[in-house]
């Protein structure tokens, strides 16, 4: 089964994302901040990480950089899911090696499609 890691510090957003991804038939793991995300990454290989940027401890950019710089994890797709909507924020995320950048709020349908496309491709 394809696995996905959701990293976000907003409980209500996590709740919806978890439900959405499960109903898409994915194996879902949750991290509520950067530290937890790193722990999860160390324990398990994921096909995709859905990553918030603004988080209290380690921010999403740093995590993305870590993933792309760790040979074992580098194959993992990183999709940013963030309320940061400036062009410069998006460019920065893509430059760090992310596969996609989706701005909050998002359409659940579109999000599902994009993620499934990436995972099954």
């Amino acid at each position: 089964m394809n696995s996905i890691l959701i990293v976000d510090d907003e409980p209500n957003i996590v709740m919806s994302l978890e439900y959405l991804m499960r109903s898409n038939g994915l194996d879902v793991s949750i991290a509520r901040n950067g530290t937890e995300a790193i722990e999860q990454l160390e324990n398990k290989r994921f096909n995709l990480v859905l990553l918030d940027i603004t988080m209290p401890d380690v921010d999403g950019y740093e995590i993305c950089q870590l993933i792309k710089n760790t040979p074992d994890w580098a194959a993992t797709h990183v999709v940013f899911l963030s309320a940061k909507s400036k062009q410069s924020d998006i460019e920065k995320g893509m430059a760090l090696g992310a596969t996609d950048y989706i701005v909050k709020p998002f359409s659940t349908k579109e999000l599902s499609t994009r993620i499934l496309n990436l995972i099954t491709a």
């Binding site: 409980p11 957003i13 439900y19 659940t108």
Partner: protein, 878 residues
């Protein structure tokens, strides 16, 4: 030292001068041009002669500090000097004037008789001074001789001969050949350095090395009863000496030569303002200590003028006496070289050249200006040597110098009048000069030639408490000025004089293209005659450098039998002036011209035109200044706006970012509910709907908080102030939070009075309390303590409320940002985060608006996390 080595040393030094001049003319030229301002400053150091190098010490050893006037005068006059010289330099460049007599005659209608009188005066005043330098060379050489009692050398002949040779080579082409001029500038600069180094270092070695420093010398001198040498003995004389020395710094021919003729750029004048004082300070630094030390340790029969050399000899130094001798030699030779070449130019232009012409300007015999200059030089050296050999032996160095200064000062009224008084006439200046000159001659010259003491004539005893010298100075200068002004007012100026007066007076406001090109004559002359005339007086190569070049620049085709245009004639006159001075040049030119000779160009037109242009320029300048000011203001305002706008942008971005989170959750949840429909378990759907409501509430909070913050920051907040009991408000907030606290397992306690009256807006105060209490509940482990008590700050009575919890405290990295907008701690993961990041910022603003202060009073490990705020206390007993 024996006689041969002294002669060898002198000859070597003079030989070295030839090399330096050669260098300045050739290789050193670029260096001199690049550092022209420094060379200019050093050139002015020609002021320091043997009189300074040896004479000051002699004077200080006998008369105390009065010698200082001769150096303080010029230094005090320097700002004036700068102002005056700028004008003089500009005029002299514009009209190709090359000496003091040129300058004065040019202004007063190019009058030949005035030039003659000026020249005679200068020669009489300066030749004794030249003789004095020769004497100083010879006397110092004889001091240097170890077996002075048995041998005596005539170094004077050797030195005078070599100097004559040097001046014949480098002092003749000075006025028109830039290369020769550079040679002379290099030499004088070099000599200035030699003399200042010798004076300063020599003095230093002797005083520091042999007398344990200046203060030691002063103490010993005082003990030996020489304290009258520490003061200025005759203050009245002193002031006059300063004045006369100040004038001398402008008017001595050698100063004019270095300050005006060898000036390359008006800018160079500025640097002289510090080089000259520094130079004079270093030259005079050890004068008094050396004088005193000489008095203390040398016998009474030594000539105090040569204390410096005698001390160096007495202390048994091997090289020092030679070095000091060279310093003195440099002082003498630089003076002789520059003065002699300046005098020769005057004698040639005003005496010898006119003597070769008949009254109508036809040549009596053919002598070109270079030959007459050389003749003049030989003549001057001959007179100086004669004077030295037969007259000068008796006087001390300083007194002859001073007499010469007073003579030169007689030129001051005419010279300053030339620059600053339009009404002065040549007759006025001539008569004034003759009176001043006559008085000076009667007082000094005649008695000196008769071998009597100078200035003892009863005629000059006007001011009883002044010395004879001061009396003569004052009376001669005063009479000179009075006659000049009086006669000028009674006589009229002829057109050329009037025109020149306007040019001299207004030179700073005449644009250079006018004084450089305007015709000063309307007579007729063909190109052929003009060129023939010039060729008679100018060196061949100079024609190419000047006239022919000018043809090209002005696009003039010189057809031999056509009439030369006025600007060419005017230029030719200036070229002649450069060679033979303005008066003789005019005589020569007049002879060649046909028809009306002199017609002056109308300076008034030019001035009028210039004035208008200037006025226009000024108006433009003012407008442009105003525009510049406005632009600057606009830029500042724009920058401020940009900053404000950036702050606003950042704020808006933060707000939208914060709004996006609840919106994201709401949208996602609703979309899922709709999509799933009945497929969704009922309890999950209920969870989703609850979350939606929760996020909506959060949105509402956020929006009202943002509005609050905006109000406070823009100053639009309105507080409806009432008397409030703070205790009651606390109770109310605790009531509403009781359930939440219980849920979190937190206990809240209160200590403090039952009544605490403040002036406040009840809703806003409640907002603050709610914020603090709910924050505390969020972070506390078990307990929250609220304490209310009285306190004071700077004598003001306050209520102070403290709210502490037993939680982990605020992370250190968060402390500085605690009250910033949208700042949320990085460590909020333990409890559910639904804050807006604005609560503390708003509370801070509210308390501030109430005249109090909200702060983090304590933070672990200092104690439990404690927020506190103060509010002004209202006295309820009133």
């Amino acid at each position: 030292m024996n006689a041969i080595s002294v002669i060898a040393l002198t000859s070597c030094y003079l030989g070295l001068l030839f090399l330096v001049a050669r260098w300045g003319k050739g290789l050193g030229r670029l260096l001199i041009e690049k550092y022209s301002s420094y060379f200019y400053g050093l050139g002015l150091g020609v002021y320091a002669t043997a009189w300074t190098f040896y004479g000051s010490i002699g004077r200080a050893a006998t008369n105390g500090l009065d010698f200082l006037a001769i150096y303080i005068g010029p230094v005090l006059f320097l700002p004036v000097w700068w102002f005056v010289m700028k004008k003089v330099v500009r005029i002299s460049k514009a009209q190709h004037l090359n000496s003091l007599s040129d300058f004065i005659t040019a202004r007063y209608g190019k009058s030949w008789s005035l030039g003659l009188v000026v020249t005679l005066l200068v020669v009489m005043a300066i030749t004794p001074y030249l003789a004095l330098q020769i004497k100083a060379i010879s006397s110092s050489a004889n001091v240097l001789l170890s077996d002075a009692r048995t041998s005596y050398i005539d170094l004077d002949i050797v030195a005078t001969g070599l100097l004559l040779l040097f001046t014949l080579i480098y002092g003749v082409h000075f006025s028109f050949d830039a290369n020769q001029r550079n040679g002379l500038i290099a030499t004088i600069g070099f000599e200035s350095i030699v003399k200042v180094l010798a004076a300063f270092l020599g003095g230093w070695v002797i005083i520091q090395g042999d007398f344990e420093g200046g203060s030691q010398v002063f103490e010993r001198a005082e003990a030996a009863g020489m304290s009258e040498l520490f003061v200025i003995q005759n203050p009245n004389d002193w002031w006059l000496m300063m004045l006369v020395s100040g004038f001398a710094f402008f008017l001595l021919p050698r100063q004019f030569q270095m300050a005006v003729v060898s000036n390359r750029s008006e800018r160079d004048l500025r640097k002289a303002l510090w080089i000259v004082p520094l130079f004079l300070l270093l030259m005079n630094f050890w004068v008094v200590p050396i004088a005193l030390a000489g008095n203390l340790s040398l016998g009474g029969d030594t000539n105090p003028d040569y204390h410096f050399l005698s001390l160096a000899l007495a202390q048994g130094y091997q090289f020092l006496p030679g070095i000091i001798f060279l310093g003195g030699l440099a002082a003498c030779t630089s003076m002789i070289i520059v003065s002699a070449s300046a005098l020769s130019a005057m004698v040639s232009s005003n005496i010898l050249l006119p003597a070769t012409l008949k009254r109508d300007g036809t040549p009596r015999f053919d002598l070109n200006p270079i030959i007459t200059k050389r003749l003049a030089l030989v003549l001057i050296f001959a007179i100086a040597y004669f004077y030295y050999a037969f007259i000068v032996q008796q006087e001390s160095l300083v007194s002859i110098g001073m007499i010469s200064f007073i003579g030169i000062a007689q030129l001051a009224p005419g010279f300053l009048g030339a620059l600053f008084w339009r009404r002065g006439t040549s007759l006025g200046v001539l008569l004034g000069l003759l009176v001043g000159f006559g008085l000076w001659l009667t007082a000094f010259g005649v008695p000196q030639w008769l071998g009597e003491r100078s200035g003892e004539l009863a005629l000059f005893g006007v001011f009883e408490n002044w010395s004879p010298m001061a009396n003569i100075t004052f009376i001669s200068l005063a009479m000179n000025s009075l006659v000049m002004v009086g006669v000028s007012l009674m006589s009229t100026q002829h057109p050329l004089e009037k025109s020149q007066a306007e040019i001299f007076y207004n030179i700073m406001s005449i644009p250079s293209q006018h004084y450089d090109r305007s015709p000063v004559t309307s007579g007729k002359i063909t190109f052929e005659r003009l060129e023939k005339m010039l060729l008679r007086f100018l060196p061949d190569n100079m024609m190419h450098e000047t006239l022919y070049k000018r043809y090209t620049i002005d696009r003039i085709k010189p057809e031999p039998f056509k009439e030369a245009p006025a600007q060419v004639v005017s230029y030719a006159e200036r070229l002649l002036t450069q060679m033979m001075g303005p008066a003789t040049a005019r005589i020569v030119l007049n002879r060649e011209m046909e028809g009306d000779t002199i017609n002056t160009f109308d300076i008034q037109d030019i001035l009028e035109e210039t004035r208008e242009t200037k006025k226009l320029n000024r108006e433009l300048q003012e407008k442009s200044d105003a525009l510049a000011r406005l632009t600057k203001e606009l830029t500042t305002a724009n920058d401020q706006l940009k900053t404000i706008s950036t702050i606003k942008d950042d704020f808006l971005y933060s707000v939208t970012h914060e709004l996006r989170s609840p919106l994201t959750a709401i949208r996602a949840q609703i979309e899922i509910i709709r999509e799933e429909g009945d497929a969704m378990p009922a309890e999950v759907r209920a969870n989703f709907l609850d979350a939606t409501i929760e996020e909506s509430v959060r949105l509402t909070h956020l929006i009202s908080n943002v509005l609050d913050i905006e109000k406070f920051e823009s100053g639009n907040q309105q507080l409806s102030l009432k008397r409030l009991n703070l205790k009651e408000m606390i109770d109310r907030v605790l009531e509403t939070h009781w359930a939440l606290a219980l849920n979190e397992g937190v206990q809240i306690s209160y200590s403090g009075p039952e009544h605490a009256t403040v002036n406040g807006d009840s809703d806003r105060m409640q907002q603050v309390l709610v914020n603090l209490v709910s924050n505390a509940i969020k972070h506390a482990d078990h307990q929250i303590k609220i304490a209310l008590q009285e306190c004071s700050n700077k004598g003001k009575a306050l209520w102070c409320l403290e709210l502490s919890d037993d939680g982990a405290g605020v992370p250190e990295s968060d402390v500085p940002h605690l009250f910033e907008k949208f700042y949320q701690s990085r460590d909020q993961t333990v409890k559910k985060r639904l804050g807006t990041g604005l609560g503390l910022a708003i509370s801070h603003n509210i308390i501030k608006a109430h005249g109090g202060q909200l702060e983090l009073a304590k933070n672990p490990p200092e104690g439990p996390t404690t927020f506190s705020f103060t509010l002004p206390k209202i006295n309820t007993n009133e």
